[in-house]
C-alpha cells in the first residue's frame, strides 16, 4: 500500500510539474522591480535578459538532451546577422516579424548542421560544433560587403515595437521589449521540457541505448530539440541586434559560445533556472571586475569553473539545493 501511495505521488509530481510554482515568478518580479528601481542600469539589464534567453536555449540542448556544444554562438550570431541584414538591406524594419524570421533562419541552420553534427558523439561532436561556429565566423568575416566584416554591421534602423513604442535613449523600450520576448521564450521552453517530448529528451540524456531499446527515435528527437534550441538562440541574437542597432562579429565567435556555456554552468544545468542565476551573476561580476583587469577576470572565472566541477556539481543553484536539504534535515 505504501509503495503504491509513493508511486502515485511520483506520478502526481510528474503530472503537476507543468504547473507554475510560486517561486518561479520570482525572476519576473525581480526583473520588473529592476525596471522601476534601477533605471540607470537598464542597458546592462537588457543585455542580461538577452543572454538569459540565449542561455535558456543552450540549456535545452546541454541540460536536457545532454548534447555538449561549444558552437551555440553560431545560431545566436546568425540570428543577429539575419535581423540586421533584413533591416539594413531588405528594408524589413518591423521588429517582431524580424525576430521570427531570424529565429526561423537559425532553426533551419540548426536542422542542417545538426544532421551532420549529431551523428557523432564525444570529442568529435564537440569539434564539429566548434567548426560550425568557426565556419560562420569566417563567412561573416570575409563577406564584408554584407556583414561589415570585422567592423560589424552598423547603421541598422528598427521600427517602433507594435508601431507604438519607439526605442528610446534611456533603454526603457529595449528593456521591456526584451523582457517580453524572454518571458515568451521561457514559457515556451518550460512547456517544452515538461511535455512528453521533453521527458523523452531527459531519457536520451540519461541513457540513449535504453531509449533506442524502447523504440524512441533518438536521432530525430535530438535533431528536433537542436533545431528548436537554435531557433531560440537565433531569436536572442536578433533581439540583441535590434536593441543595440548593431551586430558585432563577436556574436559568432568561439568566445561567445564558451562564455554562454560558462554562464549556464555557473547557474546550474538542466533546470531552466540556471540561466536566470548564472547569467546575471556572471555579467554583473564581469561588468564590475573585467573593466579594470580583464586577465584577473579570466583567472577568476577559470578557477571558479574548476572549483564548481570539483566541489559543487550543479552550479550556484546546486549550492542552494544543498543548503535547503541540510536545513530540512535539521528540524
Amino acid at each position: 500500500m505504501s509503495d503504491l501511495a509513493k508511486s502515485e505521488s511520483a506520478v502526481d509530481r510528474l503530472l503537476r510539474a507543468h504547473r507554475i510554482r510560486p517561486a518561479e515568478w520570482l525572476p519576473w518580479i525581480a526583473a520588473i522591480g529592476i525596471y522601476f528601481l534601477f533605471d540607470g542600469y537598464l542597458a546592462l539589464g537588457s543585455q542580461i535578459l538577452i543572454m538569459v534567453l540565449f542561455a535558456l536555449s543552450l540549456d535545452l540542448v546541454v541540460g536536457y538532451a545532454g548534447i555538449v556544444t561549444l558552437g551555440h554562438a553560431a545560431f545566436f550570431g546568425i540570428g543577429a546577422y539575419t535581423a540586421g541584414i533584413l533591416a539594413k538591406f531588405g528594408g524589413w524594419t518591423e521588429p517582431i516579424t524580424g525576430l521570427i524570421v531570424a529565429g526561423a533562419v537559425a532553426g533551419v541552420l540548426g536542422l542542417v548542421s545538426g544532421f551532420i553534427v549529431l551523428r557523432t558523439t564525444g570529442l568529435t561532436l564537440l569539434m564539429l560544433t566548434m567548426a560550425t561556429g568557426a565556419m560562420l565566423f569566417e563567412l561573416a568575416n570575409k563577406a564584408g560587403a554584407i556583414t561589415g566584416g570585422a567592423d560589424g554591421l552598423q547603421g541598422i534602423v528598427i521600427d517602433p515595437v507594435l508601431g507604438m513604442f519607439r526605442f528610446d535613449l534611456w533603454g526603457r523600450t529595449t528593456y521591456l521589449y526584451s523582457l517580453a520576448v524572454v518571458f515568451v521564450g521561457w514559457y515556451f521552453a518550460r512547456s517544452l521540457v515538461h511535455s512528453p517530448f521533453g521527458r523523452s529528451l531527459v531519457g536520451v540524456r540519461e541513457n540513449a541505448v535504453r531509449m533506442h531499446a524502447i523504440g524512441a527515435p533518438v536521432f530525430i528527437r535530438m535533431l528536433i530539440v537542436y533545431a528548436i534550441s537554435a531557433a531560440v538562440a537565433g531569436v536572442a541574437g536578433a533581439l540583441l541586434t535590434q536593441t543595440t542597432q548593431f551586430a558585432a562579429l563577436k556574436v559568432l565567435s568561439f568566445e561567445q559560445s564558451g562564455e554562454i556555456l560558462v554562464m549556464l554552468i555557473l547557474g546550474g544545468v538542466g533546470r531552466l533556472y540556471g540561466a536566470f542565476i548564472g547569467v546575471p551573476a556572471y555579467m554583473i561580476a564581469q561588468d564590475t571586475m573585467a573593466k579594470t583587469d580583464p586577465y584577473n577576470w579570466f583567472f577568476g572565472i577559470g578557477l571558479m569553473l574548476v572549483l564548481v566541477v570539483l566541489f559543487v556539481r550543479g552550479g550556484l543553484l546546486g549550492i542552494v539545493d544543498t543548503l535547503i536539504a541540510r536545513l530540512r534535515r535539521k528540524p
Binding site: 551523428r119 557523432t120 583567472f299 569553473l305 566541477v309
Partner: protein
C-alpha cells in the same frame, strides 16, 4: 609546379607540428575517454618556455627542447594527479567545463607573466637561412621541423609497437577492463602516457614557436585544429592522427594560398564531408 611544391612543403611542416602537439591528446582520449580541451595549453607553455630559455638564459635551441619536454611533462603529471584523475568516468560536460576553466587560467597566467602580445622567438642562425635540396631552396627552419617531426614519429612508432610499455598502452586502449584483468596497472600507465603526451605537446609548441607564435590565447585559437587532427584521425590511433595532420596541414595551406578570400573555410567543409562519410574518423573503430 613551384607553387605546388611550396604548398606541400609548408603544409607538411605545419602538419608535423600539429601532429606532435595533438598526438598526446589522441592517446589520452583513446585510453581514458577524457576530453582534455586544455591540451593546447601544454603546447603554449612549451612555446613560452622556449622564449625564456633562449632569450633570457641563452640556452641553445637544441638543448632547450629536451628541457621543455621534461618541464611540461612534469606539469602534466602534477595536473593529472591533482585534478584530471578526479574526473575519469565523469560526464563529458564536467570534463569540458573543467578543462575550459584550466584554459582560462592558463590565459591569465601567461599574460600576467609575459604580457598579452605574442612573444617573438629568435631562432639560431643555422635555422634562419635556406637549404638547397635537389636544386631548390627551402627554408632551413621548416626543413628542420619536418626532420624533427619524422624523428618523433619514428620514435613513437617504435615505442608503441616494439616495446613492452607500448604493448601495454595498446592493450589498454583496446580493452581497458581486460588489460586490468591481466594485471596491467592502467592507472599508472595513464599517468605516464599523460606525461608523455603533454611533454610532446610542449615540444611541439616549442618546435613550432616560429609558425604558431606563443601568445596567451594560443590554447583557444588552435584548439579546433588539434581537435580536427584527433577526430578525423580516429580516437587513439597514431597512424590516423598522422594522416589527419598531413591532410589538414596541406589542405589548409593550399586553401589559404590559392583562395585567400575563403580563409579557413575549405578545411571545415572538407572535414565535415569526411566525418559525414566516416563519423568515427579515418582509422577509428566504427561504433
Amino acid at each position: 609546379m613551384n607553387a605546388l611544391i611550396s604548398i606541400v612543403f609548408d603544409g607538411v611542416a605545419y602538419a608535423m607540428i600539429l601532429y606532435v602537439i595533438s598526438v598526446g591528446l589522441s592517446v589520452t582520449l583513446g585510453l581514458m575517454g577524457f576530453a582534455n580541451l586544455a591540451h593546447g595549453a601544454f603546447a603554449m607553455v612549451g612555446g613560452y618556455a622556449l622564449t625564456t630559455l633562449m632569450n633570457k638564459w641563452g640556452m641553445p635551441f637544441l638543448a632547450a627542447l629536451p628541457v621543455i619536454f621534461c618541464l611540461v611533462g612534469a606539469i602534466g603529471i602534477v595536473l593529472e594527479r591533482l585534478i584530471y584523475r578526479r574526473l575519469y568516468g565523469a560526464g563529458e560536460l564536467d570534463q569540458v567545463v573543467l578543462t575550459i576553466g584550466l584554459v582560462f587560467m592558463s590565459i591569465a597566467l601567461m599574460s600576467f607573466i609575459y604580457g598579452p602580445q605574442p612573444q617573438p622567438v629568435r631562432l639560431p642562425d643555422w635555422l634562419r637561412g635556406q637549404i638547397g635540396i635537389l636544386g631548390r631552396d627551402f627554408p632551413a627552419y621548416r626543413v628542420f621541423v619536418i626532420g624533427a617531426g619524422a624523428v618523433f614519429i619514428l620514435g613513437l612508432w617504435l615505442g608503441l609497437e616494439r616495446t613492452r610499455f607500448g604493448a601495454r598502452v595498446r592493450a589498454s586502449v583496446d580493452n581497458r577492463r581486460m588489460a586490468e584483468a591481466i594485471g596491467i596497472d592502467v592507472d599508472r600507465l595513464f599517468t605516464m602516457t599523460f606525461a608523455l603526451g603533454s611533454g610532446l605537446a610542449g615540444v611541439g609548441g616549442a618546435l613550432g614557436a616560429d609558425l604558431l607564435a606563443p601568445q596567451p590565447t594560443f590554447a583557444i585559437q588552435h584548439l579546433v585544429y588539434f581537435l580536427i587532427v584527433v577526430a578525423v584521425g580516429g580516437l587513439g590511433s597514431l597512424r590516423g592522427a598522422f594522416v589527419a595532420a598531413l591532410l589538414l596541414g596541406i589542405i589548409d595551406n593550399g586553401g589559404k594560398y590559392l583562395f585567400p578570400q575563403f580563409g579557413a573555410f575549405f578545411i571545415y567543409v572538407a572535414m565535415m564531408a569526411l566525418l559525414l562519410w566516416r563519423p568515427a574518423g579515418l582509422f577509428g573503430r566504427q561504433a
